[in-house]
Amino acid sequence: MASLELTVNGDRLGLEIDVRTTLLDLLREHLDLTGSKKGCDHGQCGACTVLIDGRRAKACLVLAITLDGAEVTTIEGLADNGQLHALQAAFIEHDAFQCGYCTPGQICSAVGMLAEARAGLPSYVTEDLLAAPDPADEHEIRERMSGNLCRCAAYVNIVAAIAEVASGAIAEDAE
């Protein structure tokens, strides 16, 4: 066992864990935050995506012990005082899911992805590596979100929901 200090959704926690525990298992099994899903446990599906110090990551591939001092945000931490995050609202409005299993990972990934695109980070489909990419461009969204699979293939609506938020059509006061 080893001790770990971690801030999860704003709560500062002191934890004693087995060093083999992944962040995903810590969230789901120890902290009862079951919003982050385990699809593959091998980095291949994106269902476990969370934000670590504001950057999106796959919680199943990160050993929790390596995160001492970090801040983690999960799907449970995105809403602000009961008001949904703009991406959560857009997913509902666009019916961007069927079974919902991939949805928490999709939404956390989209939050991180939009921050990356707005900061000007290029993607593999960005034509001009030196120009600012358009975060609302459909090709950009599809490429940047390719680490999140949806077994129900709700992709069309997922892209539409993200594009709407990216284009600024929905205010993002929940961020």
């Binding site: 083999r20 670590i52 593999y124 030196l130």
Partner: protein, 325 residues
């Protein structure tokens, strides 16, 4: 996952002395190692977490060129202005790899030393010379659709999965390595090795040695480059074949070309025959096709991966056309 002890390295010398213990492994982003530990392909007794070592700087060198610390995250390197401007082939190759979430965590050192995606290597119930030397290579006569067409041996036909390394091979990067015996800089062409009789060794980095940085020389002015990756779906898949090409032409004549292929060999495959066939030739489709043919004439496809020969040939010609357009 098997039990192991964990320690966070405070400095490079501490990391190296801790690594002297047999069974110790460095943990950087963990995106490959944690996966392999779950599969029990990797069974370290001790993990030395190097992710917080002061190796996360990207420095522009006085004479041009760049020094990239080993723990720089893949996405940060791709986003760096000096890389986008001076080494676009590297930015593209990084962005072609894995997914946004993985690139945010994966480091440069870990990317270089990630292990093969051969399905038998990842399955401990199967024999595999790379995982268990001497146990045999079931891929040779089994599932090898995505394995090597160049440089394989009867002991192993695996490919190296890194996209970034392919761009670094074309850029002729240097890799700084530090161990108990001192430090050295390896040309990337000497980092990766062919499987030969000992496929358990992916690279010439010895156990306990730490990669500290990757060095890039200043590129010749006027050189143009591109990275093209061919895969089974549009994104988030390993390469079937990839091409990194850097070409300098003068008045319609190719002066220098550096081409490396991914997905075809035990490490990035430098296409020296294609490079030779391009030198001092007019920059035309015919020249590009001829160069691609020259390289692929030496390919040794396995029973089920002959399609990669065609794919690689076409990918080389198209990439050259794009770069020289």
């Amino acid at each position: 996952m098997r039990p192991f002890s964990y320690e966070r390295a405070a400095d490079v010398s501490g990391a190296i002395s801790s690594a002297a213990m047999p069974g110790a492994m460095f943990l950087a982003g963990g995106t490959n190692l944690v996966d392999l530990m779950k599969l029990e392909v990797a069974r370290p007794d001790k993990l030395i977490d190097i992710s917080r070592l002061p190796l996360s700087q990207i420095e522009e060198l006085p004479g041009g060129g760049l020094r990239v610390g080993a723990t720089v995250r893949n996405s940060d390197l791709a986003a760096h202005e000096a890389v986008r401007r001076g080494y676009p082939v590297l930015a593209q190759a990084l962005l072609a790899g894995a997914s946004g979430q993985i690139r945010n965590v994966a480091t440069i050192g870990g990317n270089l030393l990630q292990r093969s995606r051969c399905p038998y290597f990842q399955d401990v119930s199967k024999p595999c010379n790379k995982r268990r030397p001497g146990s045999g290579c079931p891929a040779r006569d089994g599932e090898h659709r995505n394995l090597a067409i160049f440089g394989h041996s009867k002991h192993c036909v695996a490919t190296h999965p890194s996209d970034m390394a392919v761009a670094l091979a074309a850029l002729e990067a240097g890799v700084d390595v530090v161990g108990a015996g001192g430090s050295r800089t390896l040309p990337i062409g000497e980092l990766y090795r062919l499987p030969g009789e000992d496929p358990e060794l992916d690279t010439t980095v010895e156990p306990g040695e730490l990669i500290t940085a990757v060095q890039l020389d200043r590129q010749a002015s006027g050189a143009r480059s591109a990275y093209r990756k061919v895969r089974e779906r549009a994104s988030f898949a390993f390469a079937l074949v990839s091409v990194a090409a850097i070409v300098r032409t003068e008045e319609g004549v190719v002066r220098d070309a550096r081409i490396a292929l991914g997905g075809v060999a035990h490490g990035p495959w430098r296409a020296l025959l294609a490079e030779e066939a391009l030198r001092d030739q007019p920059s035309t489709e015919d020249t590009f096709n001829h160069a691609a043919e020259a390289e692929l004439a030496e390919a040794l496809p396995l029973r089920d991966n002959g399609f990669k020969v065609t794919l690689a040939r076409n990918a080389i010609s198209r990439t050259l056309s794009e770069v020289c357009a």
